[in-house]
Amino acid sequence: MSRDSAASAPGSSGAHAGRPVGRKTAGSRWGRFLEGGLLQGGVQGSPVLRLFMRWVRRPLLPVMRLWRRNIQLKVVVTTLLMSLGVVLLLGFVVIGQVRNGLLDAKVNASQSQATGGFAVARQKAEEAGSGTGDEATTVDGRPAQNVIQWMSDLVESLSSGGQGAFDVVTLPAGNDSGSGRGPRASGDVIAASSVPEALRERIDTDPTMAAQSYTRIFYDADKESQPALVIGKQVNDPNNDPYQLYYLFPLTQEEKSLSLVKGTLATAGLFVVVLLGAIAWLVVRQVVTPVRMAAGIAERLSAGRLQERMKVTGEDDIARLGEAFNKMAQNLQLKIQQLEDLSRMQRRFVSDVSHELRTPLTTVRMAADVIHDARVDFDPITARSAELLADQLDRFETLLADLLEISRFDAGAAALEAEPIDLRVVVRRVVSGAEPLAERKGTQIRVVGAQQPVVAEADARRVERVLRNLVVNAVEHGEGKDVIVKLAAAGGAVAVAVRDYGVGLKPGEATRVFSRFWRADPARARTTGGTGLGLSIALEDARLHGGWLQAWGEPGGGSQFRLTLPRTADEPLRGSPIPLEPKDSRRHRGLDDAGLPRGGGEKAATVPAQPTGDQGPSRGPLAPRSSAVTPTADPTALPGSGSRVVPRPASGARRQDDPPAAGGQGNGEAEGTPSETVSRPDARSEGSYEQGEAFRGR
């Protein structure tokens, strides 16, 4: 497929504006909230509710975070809650049992006491009836008076037997309140209110049976009311008139006992819960401490302190964990040591080879130069041979130097000597160095964007080497057309893009150009005799800076190589100030010619241009750092940048021919994705995103 039908056509990519990443997600939710909730007057409740929930949740977030992260807290809290439940249940059961037991005993005792009392009352009534029978019949007005007196005496005598353990109350039976037999009570008890109405009715309805109920005793005097058991029965007075006799047994003692039990249980329960919590804490700590230690040591191990080990005591599971962990660390250290030794040996070897090769090469070189200088005295054939010898020695030297440089990268021996440099100066130097070649080729090198300083912390020697390589390549492959060197700085990044309008790159080649000894066209004549390692070294140089070196190209439409460097050495790259695919690419032009409306306008709307000074905040939503999506999935979602980000390890393996998920985002033109590749430090690749469009036109 041709590159013109690229996957990330602006029209379709505009539709992919939903960016499934970090802060951006929050932003789009806000957007939906605004659009769906407030602006369009939609469902008011749910967004407002959501907002409220968020407002409520915010102060809780640290707690939730602690909860999520701290297993000890989790276990302790769970233990506390569960033991609290168990203790409460247990408490209720125990208290219920104790109360029943206490009351049963009391009821039994009270019943026998009351039964005795009723018998005494009946007996007294019979005695009085037989003893005063004559008087009753003779003196008609007296009996009532006598009964009143008798009743008072009865209450007195009955209650005196209990010595305060109970009170006695008499009430008239039924509605009969006449004949002066008003309520009587011993010990200041208010008779009427202390006996429940229901009990009285029960006794009224069944006069032969004693009945009992729980009640509260109210007193005349300043005595507090207290719970009590009341047992009552209908009894006849000496006149054979029925009245109700009640025994009131205060339950104060029982209540005291019960509350004592309750208090004891509560105290014990509280202790148990707290102790269980403490025990859980201690037990969990026993497990968690080694785990935390393991985590901490694992972190230190991964930070490179390979001699770190866990302390192992005992033979339990934790100790086994520690042993296994230590064994793992040991093996890891061994392997790393082996690798380091290997790397050291490799470096040593390279260094030795370097010396051993260079000394004879120096001799040859000097001899060749002497011969070369004397070539005017030779016959033409020998003279030409001398020239060839000198030229090829140059090439050989460059090749050797490049090989050594790349093996230095491979051995990890390359060191960055970064200091703030103005890339314009470097570009100027590179361009002036490439002028002779450009003149021979009839190419004009133009520098764009050099009005303002483009400063970054970088290794001038390496950056110059990268740019020299790019510019010379562009001139070489530019077929005499102009070469444009574009500089830009924005956000935390600076970029230099080198654009040529030569043969360009075929699909898939943008990745391969960085491969060692790769040649675009083996049959093509090379004028400068490059080593085939230049771009590989340039890629390594960019990577050493924490920067990117990317290529874009279309067959016959030229290519663009872009170097992006972080402004400060320790800052991760998030995007490049220059879009990888130039605006004058055939695809962009083609779309414009076709008059598709979703070209520039759409893009401008999606990502409004912002002043250079305002990059800080604008970077946030544009280039979020962390995300769950694979790096290959995102860049095409950015409108029109046309950039495909391939994580570094895939740069060799993943070819354009097998497009990643992003290429096929529903537009079925995956194969045509413009070929680009990205180099970046592996650690950062996951979170870095392309954002070329954001800076477009600046």
Binding site: S354, L361, R365
Partner: protein
């Protein structure tokens, strides 16, 4: 003038082919080369031939180049140019610290080598009488001496040149690149470590307290300048 350019060069190199080739090139340029292949014999040969300049390979059998460099420097200020196959930081810096004035990385072109040698020998061409003062030092340019309160301080020719370059324009701050051009004779920006190492060496000789230099003052982010006199 050309006669000043000529001089005796001692080539200390164990590679006979390279030594011979160096001899051919040096003779072609009018120098008088003498050779020694063993580090242990280098010092004796140096004493015997009294060269105007030493070309010293860093990797030698017997005593290695660094050691030889130190020994020669201990008894003479004669210019020493190291030949090294390794341009790695450590090697070069160690070589420079042991007293070498300049270094050249293999493989080099004959013209490059000759240019370096000439640059190191050039300074003997200008005997204009001149008296300079820097700090409490008095420099007699023609007499090639540096004195503090009447006591002379021994400097190598290179260190002397460096000091003179700074003392001639005490108002000017010299970048490392400018010093490389003026003192070492490089026309393109080269290894600025040369300057750093030699400023350190110079300071250790002329400063009362090398930790707090008063003669050769560092201007942060720019370079060096002469201290107030």
């Amino acid at each position: 003038m050309m006669s000043f350019m000529k001089g005796r060069v001692l080539v200390v190199d164990d590679d006979t082919a390279l030594a011979e080739m160096l001899g051919i090139v040096l003779r072609g340029e009018g120098f008088e080369p003498s050779f020694v292949a063993d580090g242990d014999k280098a010092l004796a040969a140096f004493r015997e031939s009294k060269p105007d300049l030493v070309l010293l390979d860093l990797m030698l059998p017997g005593r290695d180049g660094i050691e030889v460099c130190r020994l020669i420097r201990a008894e003479s200020g004669v210019p020493i140019v190291m030949l090294t196959a390794k341009s790695d930081t450590v090697d070069v810096v160690v070589g420079l610290e042991s007293g070498a004035d300049d270094y050249i990385v293999k493989p080099f072109k004959p013209k490059e080598l000759v240019a370096r040698i000439r640059a190191r020998l050039r300074r003997s061409e200008e005997p204009a009488p001149e008296q300079l003062a820097i700090g409490d030092l008095v420099i007699d340019v023609a007499g090639h001496s540096v004195k503090r309160e009447g006591q002379s301080i021994a400097l190598t020719p290179l260190e002397f040149d460096l000091l003179v370059a700074l003392a001639r324009k005490p108002w000017q701050v010299f970048t490392r690149e400018v010093l490389l051009e003026q003192v070492w004779g490089y026309r393109h920006a080269a290894d600025t470590r040369l300057v750093n190492v030699h400023v350190q060496r110079l300071r250790s000789k002329v400063e009362k307290d090398p930790e707090r230099p008063e003669i050769v003052v560092t201007v942060r982010g720019v370079g060096y300048k002469a201290g107030p006199s």
